[in-house]
Amino acid sequence: MSNDQGIQFTSEGKLKHFLTIEGLSKSLLTEILEVAESFASVSEQQVKKFPLLRGKTIINLFFENSTRTRTTFDLAATRLSADVLNMDISTSATSKGETLLDTIHNLEAMHIDMFVVRHSVSGAAHFIAEHVAPNISVINAGDGQHAHPTQAMLDMFTIRRFKKDFSQLKIAIVGDILHSRVARSQIQALNILGVAAVHVIAPKTLLPAKAESLGVKVFYNMKQGLEDVDVVIMLRLQKERMAGALLPTESEYYKCYGLTEEKLKFAKQDAIVMHPGPINRGVEIASEVADGTKSVILKQVSYGIAVRMAIMSMTMQATGNRK
């Protein structure tokens, strides 16, 4: 168990792959946030490009559809002056029976420097990182129900921008924890950064076994779970959860767990509302809340670029040093 995070580092201890938050130190997470901060402040100015990854080739290897995540990775790489290739694998190689590893080795032969991988199976990014050539970095852009570490880092970045001291914060994560890679990575990051408490709020059907072992307090209703929290993170509800008999109807879910202005009153006066997107209005969140003054959902999207620039430049430096 202990050596599975070791794969993320070079022998000199530098971050080489970014696969999961688990096993990363508080100082490393803080460093990522600091580097992202420097990119963010510059991004808000006119000249947006940095020459840090000039001459590098990055492939966005998406085995699962995504618009937002891929776009922000694409922009992040472009702003670092890298060459970017987007590959939608679900419609090409693997459907011809090519194995995951064959796909990777074929792309490797084209002298790629970094893979940004999204895959529907837990552990896929880890598996690729174990098998790629040593000079290639792998960034996990979401694997199955396991991890989505760049999303978690941009969420930490957002929280830090609005709330100064992590150690004082209570955070609630609401929705489908069982199937959520975002929630798993967020919970790990929040605990490493040392928040006061993480609440998860969901019906039992959307909670994993022994959820407390993740380092959270479990609540089945919004009133108790939202009490006194500083940050409310809503998760997207996948439509197929109804077919799997995990929930009766969208409207019942909205009634119990949808974030309305009324329920938001249980949280602190100055609480912020976050969502990894894309949002289902009227399912997990009311439009008034999503578009309201406490919502920082669109900020999350723009911060996503700076955070991904930070992670890409840091990991690429590690592999660059190795050559």
């Binding site: 168990m1 995951l100 552990g123 174990e130 129900q145 396991h146």
Partner: protein, 429 residues
């Protein structure tokens, strides 16, 4: 006919509970003498068994040979060599070959291949339902006549309880043993790891304990109703043991086994994303592991099997949930069982009972014994020998074991099947 003299071994005969140093003489496939050298006995082969244990050959209740259907993983020829090297002199093949064992022609094919490979006692388990589809009954009577020792649906689901009830009633009519791996299809569907802290942390689709216990309880009720003899294969949960114990106490005709690796590994040993730890049922909690060990020592779990499932490299290469489940485990059966003895979980006699006479009794075979006149199926092993699992010492085509490159203690030196030496490593001449 080969005449064999085995000298000065520690002879352990679980049938009459004896444990003493002595010689065994084999002639005409049978044990000819165990007292002294019969007059005029001229051995073709002499085996020096000093500091070694001589016991009946092991009977393994679940060994996948991968033939017919998956010869890229292994063949009957490759795996019977591994079986012989593991001291296994008789083995059962689950019916999920391809084509599956649902007609006498497949039984015959397996038989022919085993004979050609020079291995005597292979017992195919017939399919319980046609094509293992869980819908229509197989021709169980024909399968029994063709040589199937039991019937089973392996890990394939049975559509509903009515079909299971009918299948059990029909099997009971012909006194056929049902081998049942309790696991509810819907509760376990697409799962790959125990539903617990590890699966939760790594986001792995999970197989809960209740997938096993609810299926077990339903089947136990049907045993009480139909009178069908049932053997439960590869039990993994502590709670299942309680139910099996109660059923036995109530006099139901049931027995159970556990796969050897379940007695050693837990969910916490599972390195996430290393497919070699992907097994079904999954490695469970420390509490389950301890309960399984205790149940073997108390005889609630009657037998230890290898649950041998050799794979090719590709089958284990991928993200964890996408790899194929199963461990190549024939060759670790003895050393991992002896580890339980060294850890004082079992005594050596109990360990040998779980590998020999208990599986024989479950299958309705003659109780193996080291008496004069018995068929000579023997295992001679060195309980102290330390060896490393590596390509030089490994015979199975499947190298998918979590113990790869580890040092294990206890190695088979000679295996004698039907009075013939089928495996030999060491002191014979």
């Amino acid at each position: 006919m080969t005449r064999i003299h085995i000298s000065q071994g520690r002879i352990i005969d679980p049938e009459n509970g004896t444990d003493s140093i002595g010689d065994i003489y084999i002639a005409d496939n049978r044990i000819f003498s165990i007292m002294g050298r019969p007059e005029g006995f001229d051995a073709d082969i002499t085996i020096d068994a000093s500091s070694q244990v001589i016991c009946p050959g092991f009977i393994d209740l679940s060994v996948r040979l991968r033939e017919p259907g998956a010869t890229q993983k292994a063949t009957i020829a490759s795996e019977v060599k591994a079986a012989a090297a593991s001291g296994v002199t008789a083995l059962c093949i689950p019916p999920d070959t391809s084509p599956c064992i649902d007609n006498p022609a497949v039984v015959e094919l397996i038989d022919d291949k085993a004979k050609a490979a020079g291995y005597g006692q292979i017992y195919p388990i017939g399919a319980l339902t046609y094509k293992l589809q869980g819908q229509e009954l197989s021709s169980m009577f024909a399968l029994k006549n063709a040589g199937c020792i039991a019937v089973s649906n392996a890990q394939m689901p049975i559509n509903n309880l009515l079909i299971l009830r009918r299948a059990m009633e029909y099997a009971a009519s012909f006194d056929l043993l049902l081998i049942y791996q309790p696991q509810d299809y819907h509760l376990s569907h697409q799962g790959c790891a125990h539903e617990g802290t590890i699966a939760t942390r790594y986001g792995l689709p999970a197989i809960p304990e209740i997938a096993e216990t609810t299926a077990l309880l339903q089947c136990l009720e049907l045993v009480a109703h139909t009178g069908c003899k049932v053997h439960f294969g590869q039990i993994s949960c502590a709670r299942s043991i309680d139910f099996i114990r109660q059923a036995k106490d109530a006099g139901l005709p049931v027995s159970a086994d556990v796969a050897i690796h379940q007695l050693h590994l837990t969910e916490h040993d599972v390195l996430p994303f290393d497919g070699v730890y992907h097994v079904n049922p999954p490695f469970r909690t420390e509490g389950d592991r301890q309960a399984l060990r205790k149940a073997v020592s108390e005889g609630v779990l009657d037998a230890i099997c290898s649950d041998h499932q050799p794979h090719n490299i590709d089958a284990k290469l991928g993200a964890f949930p996408e790899t194929e489940p199963g461990v190549s485990s024939l060759e670790t059966l003895l050393p991992l069982t002896l580890r339980l003895v060294n850890e004082n979980e079992l005594n050596l006699m109990q360990a040998i009972v779980a590998l020999t006479i208990n599986p024989a009794n479950i299958l309705g075979l003659d109780t193996p014994s080291l008496k004069v006149g018995e068929l000579a199926d023997l295992c001679i092993f060195d309980p102290g020998k330390i060896w490393q699992i590596n390509t030089q010492n490994w015979l199975s085509s499947g190298k998918n074991t979590p113990f790869w490159q580890q040092n294990l203690q206890g190695k088979v030196a000679h295996t004698i099947q039907n009075g013939q030496v089928v495996f030999s490593q060491g002191n014979s001449r």
